[in-house]
Symmetry: C2
Subunit: 306 residues, 2 copies
């Protein structure tokens, strides 16, 4: 196992817990991996802390410096760019260290915050799923553990960690959810709500995964590729239940759209076309969708280079 280490309480506790578990289990911690993303004034301090931490534990540490802002300039938000750069680095580091798994320190708190972030952005179709406990070789052993418990564990052991000073910035949506929304929800509930929200996120994720599988099956039955895009059998699509129909449409539209963003509003526009009184067509990101006798035709539209 390679451990992704930021120097914060979550990943520091994760390292200690994995080392403890490894004493009686069939795995070893082969290395730590720290990415210096140069986004905060404290980035140098964090790197020094991580190097020192690895030295004290006698563990190998792989460190890389990345230019997240430059990556973001290609059309990503800073948060999204940082995530992509981090996982690309972790995959590379795991390859170099011959690690089978990459452990990262996401907690129940992260799960609850992510769920609320996606909820407020209206991610109802596939986006509400939350953080996966395991995806590829990335594992998240702390996803059911609260940050407060991890900090209590570290404090009891006399262990230090670094604090991210930007965590206090309430202009950042995630921080506002952490410091304002969740405490108000806790007050309404008369106790901590993170566990309940995280558990709901897991259930919604599992429901969604199963619906995705059902939709994949239906997709294979109804959709055929053509020279100009895709064709979907209209009768079969209309006869499918809403949750499956919407997922088949989303998948088809995303395939034709390339890297353009297709959202629920576009899926709903095509559903309206499908259920509407007459034939016609609409433009959606990267494609034109036309209702013809017995079929829905998705025509790929590539941007014209002038």
């Amino acid at each position: 196992v390679l451990v992704g280490l930021s120097g914060g309480s979550d990943s520091v506790a994760l390292t200690h817990l994995l080392l403890e578990l490894a004493e009686n289990a069939d795995f070893t911690v082969v290395a730590l991996a720290h990415l210096n993303h140069q986004l905060r004034p404290s980035a140098g301090r964090d790197e020094a802390f991580c190097r020192d931490f690895a030295g004290r534990l006698g563990l190998r540490i792989i460190v890389e410096t990345a230019d997240v802002k430059k990556y973001a300039a290609a059309g990503f938000s800073i948060e999204d760019a940082a995530r992509r750069v981090r996982y690309e680095f972790l995959e590379r580091a795991a390859g170099g260290a011959l690690a089978d798994r990459i452990a990262v320190g996401h907690t129940q708190d992260d799960q609850a915050e992510t769920f609320l972030l996606k909820l407020m952005r209206g991610a109802g179709l596939t986006g509400l799923a939350g953080i996966y406990p395991r995806r590829g070789r990335v594992i998240r052993p702390l996803l059911d553990v609260s940050r407060a418990d991890l900090r209590a564990y570290l404090t009891a052991r006399g262990e230090a960690w670094v604090e991210d000073e930007t965590n206090e910035d309430l202009e950042n949506p995630r921080n506002r959810i952490r410091h304002r929304v969740l405490p108000e929800l806790d007050r309404a509930a008369g106790g901590s709500t993170r566990g309940a929200i995280a558990r709901t996120a897991s259930l919604v994720r599992e429901d969604g995964q199963w619906l995705d599988e059902a939709a994949d099956l239906r997709f294979g039955q109804l959709v055929v590729r053509t020279k100009i895009g895709l064709e979907i059998e209209a009768g079969g699509l209309e006869a499918s239940p809403g949750p499956v129909r919407r997922r088949v449409l989303l998948r088809a539209m995303r395939q034709v759209a390339g890297d353009r963003e297709v959202g629920l509003e576009h899926v709903e526009a095509v559903e309206a076309l499908l259920g509407g009184p007459q034939q016609g067509g609409i433009d959606t990101p990267g494609s034109r969708v036309e209702l013809r006798p017995g079929k829905l035709v998705l025509i790929e539209q590539r941007p014209v280079i002038r």
Copy 2:
């Protein structure tokens, strides 16, 4: 259509909108129905407002007074008792007025608040579904409309409504969500989040309905009634995907439990038993569940009267 009227902005706007629609549509508003639940000091004022309102519109109004506190004493929360008493009254009033439908004034705001209430209470299995746009003869035409829009509509028409003074009480969880949690979520999102949350609630409800249907089918295949309770074929249950397995178990356990409350934690305990290394049994609300060769046995446990 019979309209449930509290005197608040939502139901007053609903009445006006239905009367407007009825001019060009194939329905009529046959009566209003107001329940005086005697829970607030202003209950008498609200009743007088509603009687006057009906008189001005020339509509019949059916009024009843209920003792919600007495009903709640049978073992319900005040909120739950008020809801039950209200719908029992509306069904009765609709019967008397020969109405085919009962229209009630739930808005997008109610939908978003209910979703967050259920989320914070951990209702992940069947409870996250939110408010149904139509159930039996109850219809909710305003479920996609915001309260702010309804009030703007009333204000533009010079129409009055009554304010529920207890809406300001922040000890009430729903009010705290309305006045504290949602505004903080709006700040995090940089705009109103009610629409996004309400839309997500609709999608989650449709996903859940379809999964419930799939689970009903599987229930019919796997579950048989016995003299002492129910038996479930263990192999078929284990082979079912998680979303279906949990729903089959919940339905079976609720059937055996009678009116005792079965929650996700009980379903998860039975899943652990099912996936565990040896046979054994656990006690759940109203039943004992035992894993025997090839089957799961749910034994009804009736309380002993001493």
